[in-house]
């Protein structure tokens, strides 16, 4: 039997290759770098990420199916690749000093982050359930370990094991769903599945079960209610830099996978499960926001807030229109800057033997460090969706997608929730600006940290003031899914 090799286009998967090489390089160099100079590894990683970014540039505009339709390079995947690279770069920047403080400055840290990023990329590009699943695992498994990376810290360990147990459980669930989907169509390739659905008629309960299980698995990664309960614990336990990383990275990657599945495999028949997604979105928004109101730990608070934000993003998926999908992409891109920014603030406050993640710890921060205060306010404004920040643009686009397709109630719940969220964001702002400091407020800053903060503030404001390029890019990225379909105006 002659071996028929698939079409291998190494150029097209240059980013993934570059990242793999980078992992190996980091692991190798780690052997020769003394414990006190581990920051070098961070710089190396940063360099590699930038190089990868440059290597990704030529791919823009490419549309190719690779490896026997297992993998796809298209504008959608590339959009996400840039998101992931940005996340990586920012994560590395905010990690370097923090790791030293927490005394976990190990080369493996960077390696695991990079592994996870590769997983994300694979997920975004996967055009086969198998690839997506493997990407998901490659993304998750390093994060389980990173969450528990502070071995001497009970909370970190606990967060790790909890996240891992639930992750494995949800992995089983998602697998079962995939297996059922395979059983129905006889294939795991998304496009082929879509073709197979074209043959069958009417709704099928087996397919529904499969969709529920798959969605549940993704919902777990995204942290949607009721699959979100790991999030506060894991977010709080994890090293803050990892919290920042996973809060945006996992979410983005999982949405990428889910979006592609829904846009390709379930295209045209997804409507029958809209109620499922609708419920997820609404419950996530509401539960997340309400629960966040009483949190006293900032990381937990942000965890709930990220649940709520996941709910907002879910709106785009519920709508399923071109604008809806584009708004998901836009929001995820925007979300990087603001959410990582907010977590960076916790890092800023973190000192030796002082976690600095309680809301209390922020009392009077703005008085002692006005710039940090302004930065924080900008991130929170953005998270709350107040212009002229990126968060507003993102939310605006999401709501407009909902309105366009007639999901008035969903939009209404969404906007009301965003009002609700102001309460707890501004509780912290009030703490920073209007409360008397309990004691001396110190922050630990470093050049990379400042750079990261500067980048994020600039990102939030720039996108807020001039979002057009990003919106166009997001639109262009999802446009191929909707070729032929025209935008529907509000239906009475």
């Amino acid at each position: 039997m002659p071996l028929k090799l698939p079409d291998i286009n190494l150029f097209a998967i240059m980013p993934e290759i570059a990242m793999t090489v980078l992992v190996c390089l980091v692991l190798l160099v780690d052997l020769f770098v003394p414990q006190r100079r581990k920051a070098l590894l961070g710089l190396l990683t940063l360099f590699g990420v930038v190089v990868t970014g440059l290597l990704t540039l030529p791919l823009i505009g490419m549309e190719a199916d690779l490896f026997s339709d297992m993998y796809r390079v298209d504008s959608f995947a590339i959009f996400f690749k840039f998101i992931f690279l940005a996340i990586t770069a920012l994560t590395v920047l905010i990690s370097m000093r923090y790791l030293s403080i927490e005394e976990i400055h190990l080369g493996e840290y960077y390696a695991l982050v990079l592994f996870s990023v590769i997983g994300m990329m694979v997920m975004a590009g996967g055009s086969d359930l198998l690839t997506i699943y493997i990407g998901l695992e490659l993304l998750s498994i390093p994060i389980y370990m990173l969450v528990g990376f502070m071995k001497r810290d009970l909370l970190s360990q606990e967060g790790g094991i909890k996240y891992f147990l639930l992750g494995a459980f949800s992995s089983g669930i998602i697998l079962y769903g995939i297996a059922l989907a395979y059983g129905i169509t006889g294939t795991t390739n998304l496009a082929a599945m879509h073709a197979a659905f074209g043959e069958t008629t009417g709704p099928n309960i087996l397919l529904t079960l499969s969709v529920i299980m798959i969605v549940a698995g993704f919902a777990f990664k995204i942290a949607l209610v009721p699959f979100h309960m790991w999030a506060p614990d894991a977010y709080q336990g994890a090293p803050t830099s990892i919290t920042a990383f996973m809060s945006v990275g996992t979410k983005a990657a999982a949405f990428a996978g889910l979006l592609r599945i829904f846009a390709v495999a379930f295209e045209g028949i997804a409507d029958q499960w809209a109620i499922l997604l609708w419920l997820l979105a609404v419950f996530s928004m509401t539960w997340g926001n309400i629960a966040a109101m009483v949190q006293s730990n900032l990381k937990r608070l942000l965890a709930y807030s990220s649940v709520a934000h996941a709910g907002y993003v879910m709106m785009g998926l519920v709508v399923g229109s071109e604008i809806g999908m584009a708004s998901v992409l836009l929001y995820l891109a925007v979300y990087i800057f603001m959410n990582m920014g907010a977590f960076t603030m916790v890092i800023l406050l973190c000192r030796q033997n002082f976690r600095g993640d309680r809301v209390e710890d922020f009392r009077g921060l703005a008085r002692a460090h006005p710039l940090a205060g302004i930065g924080f306010v900008i991130f929170f404004l953005s998270l709350a969706g107040i212009p002229p920040t990126a968060g507003f643009v993102g939310k605006f686009y999401l709501f407009s997608a909902a309105i366009e397709s007639g999901y008035i109630w969903l939009a209404l719940i969404g906007v009301l929730n965003s009002v609700l969220s102001v309460y707890y964001y501004f509780k912290i702002v009030a703490n920073m600006y209007m409360a008397e400091p309990a004691g001396k407020v110190d922050i630990s800053t470093s050049v990379p940290l400042r750079l990261a903060l500067g980048l994020m503030v600039a990102g939030v404001l720039l996108i807020g003031v001039y979002p057009d390029p990003l919106i166009s890019a997001a639109k262009a990225s999802v446009a191929p899914f909707f070729q032929g379909a025209s935008a529907i105006a509000l239906v009475p």
Partner: protein, 531 residues
């Protein structure tokens, strides 16, 4: 659609303050508060200068937008950077720049700590407010609408009174709650316009384009969108029963904050109704007149009654705002030229008179650190100049002829009377009550013997205080005695608007041939807007 001046005068007016704020933020040391103060004042004066500079170039008879600036901003969703003003917005812009300058000046002595942040907030706030009155793209409008909340939140929250945190977050949440409904309403309009069945079929947030949809938009759509916008604007106005944020915010805010809140922020609500609800949704506006009038009348009487029972001066003034804004709303929803003209003028008047009253309270508070009426009494023998100023502001507020309040109230009532005698009759009782609580306040504070020893040696107003009160007082008399210039600026735009509403409330089919021709020819609807 002209710009009589060759340059972007609107943008300059609007952005001078925020540029000033950024300069203060980065260039000024917090060790030199004096420099910051004067710089901030200078910045606000520049903005004031530019806003006044526009007046001679403004053509009142031209009902189109003037000093227009237009550029693509977010073409992918049809958002433009679109500034322009007409006779409705110009007075409000001048009011804003004027009161902002006053607000800066009045803060010199009563803000002692964190002055840098304070002036930065104040200037950013000014930019936000100006943007609201200039924007002709609903997206742009919304951006400014919300931007302005944040500095106000800080003004109340950091430099406010005892319950500042509560008041600040309440203000923020309350108004944000309203504005998200506005957002939904705008989005609905945007997509309806994109539907060729109703609108131009284009995706655009250009307000003037959206106006053109008004006659074709079915009534039930109009109704729901109107309700959405109503919630947002009515909270800002504030219309009974959505007013409960106002006393807290007004009372807890520092003097400048109260002045800006009462003087400008509340006007945004009424401006919103005039600029958006009426022309965009004429049918719904007509249908809901009884409902809104009822609320407005309740607000007038209720606000006055509640004001009467207050022990706190600021609260009293705050509730008087509820009452006065009820008048304005009533005038707007008289839906005739006189009522609307009066309402717009009353907008200005209320900004001046209530602004002045808050300044007065601020002057007292600075000296005595109490806002309780009972802590004063007999001040007129101690502070004669102050007494005169207070008296003029009070009489302006209760609408004494010869002062500004009367002209506005009169026109409003004149307009309302033509719509409904009953509304006017009820509203008139508000005038009586207004005189009641104001005079009572004045009497308790200023007349009688000096009841508290601490008050015996209060300083009278100093030069700075006189300096910022003076322009307000002059305007009060000016508008009261010779309002013609103001009315002339507003009248053509008002007439145009009312005409539009009148024509667009009918369905195209139901209109007579003549009327539908008039509708087609109408200014708002014919001007070609290239996208």
């Amino acid at each position: 659609m002209t710009n009589a001046l060759g340059f972007s005068v609107l943008s300059i007016t609007a952005y001078v303050p925020i540029v000033g704020a950024i300069l203060i933020m980065f260039l000024f040391s917090r060790q030199r508060p004096l420099a910051i103060k004067w710089f901030a004042f200078g910045v606000s004066l520049i903005s004031l200068f530019f806003s006044l500079f526009m007046i001679p170039y403004f053509e009142p008879s031209n009902v189109q937008m003037q000093f227009v600036e237009r550029a693509e901003w977010i073409p992918s969703i049809g958002v433009q950077y679109f500034f322009g003003i007409d006779g409705i917005s110009l007075p409000l812009i001048i009011l804003t720049t004027l009161l902002s300058s006053v607000a800066v000046l009045c803060s010199f002595s009563n803000i002692g700590e964190r002055q840098k942040e304070y002036y930065v907030s104040l200037l950013i706030l000014e930019t936000g407010m100006l943007g609201v009155f200039m924007a002709l793209d609903v997206f742009l409008f919304y951006v400014f609408w919300e931007v302005m909340l944040v500095p106000m939140y800080f003004l109340i929250g950091i430099w406010g009174g005892q319950r500042k945190l509560y008041a600040a977050i309440k203000f923020f949440l309350y108004t944000l709650f309203g504005s998200v409904f506005i957002l939904l309403g705008f989005l609905a309009l945007y997509f309806l316009n994109a539907n060729p069945a109703y609108g131009s079929g284009e995706f655009t947030f250009n307000l003037l384009e959206l106006y053109r949809m008004a006659p074709r938009l079915p009534e039930n759509f109009q109704f729901w969108i109107f309700l959405a916008l109503f919630v947002g604007f009515a909270i800002k106005v504030p219309l009974f029963p959505l007013h409960t944020w106002l006393p807290d915010a007004h009372v807890e805010a520092p003097t400048a904050g109260s002045v800006i809140l009462a003087g400008v922020l509340l006007k945004m609500g009424t401006y919103g109704f005039v600029r958006f609800s009426l022309p965009l949704l004429p049918k719904a506006s007509f249908n809901l007149v009884p409902f809104i009038s009822l609320l407005a009348i309740i607000g007038i009487i209720y606000g006055a009654l509640v004001a009467m029972a207050q022990k706190d001066i600021k609260k009293l003034v705050a509730y008087s705002s509820v009452s006065h804004l009820g008048f304005v709303m009533l005038g707007i929803f008289a839906l005739n030229s006189q009522g609307l003209l009066g309402a717009l003028l009353q907008n200005l008047n209320h900004g001046l008179s209530t602004g002045a009253l808050f300044l007065i309270v601020g002057i007292l508070y600075e000296r005595r650190h109490t806002r309780m009426i009972a802590d004063y009494g007999g001040l007129s023998s101690v502070m004669p100049v102050f007494t005169v100023v207070f008296a003029i502001a009070m009489f302006s507020s209760i609408g004494l002829p010869g002062l500004n309040g009367f002209v506005g109230e009169f026109l409003i009532l004149l307009g309302v009377f033509q719509t409904s005698t009953v509304y006017a009759a009820f509203a008139v009782t508000g005038i009586v009550l207004g005189a009641g609580y104001m005079l009572w306040l004045f009497q308790r504070m200023m007349f009688g013997p000096v009841t508290h020893e601490e008050n015996r040696n209060l300083r009278d107003m100093n030069r700075r205080e006189v300096a910022y009160m003076l322009p307000i007082l002059v305007l009060m008399f000016w508008i009261g005695i010779y309002p013609k210039p103001y009315l002339e600026i507003m009248e053509p735009s008002v007439k145009n608007l009312i005409q539009h509403v009148e024509l667009a409330r009918g369905t195209p089919e139901s209109l007579s041939a003549q009327a539908s021709e008039a509708l087609r020819q109408h200014q708002y609807l014919t001007t070609e807007w290239s996208r």
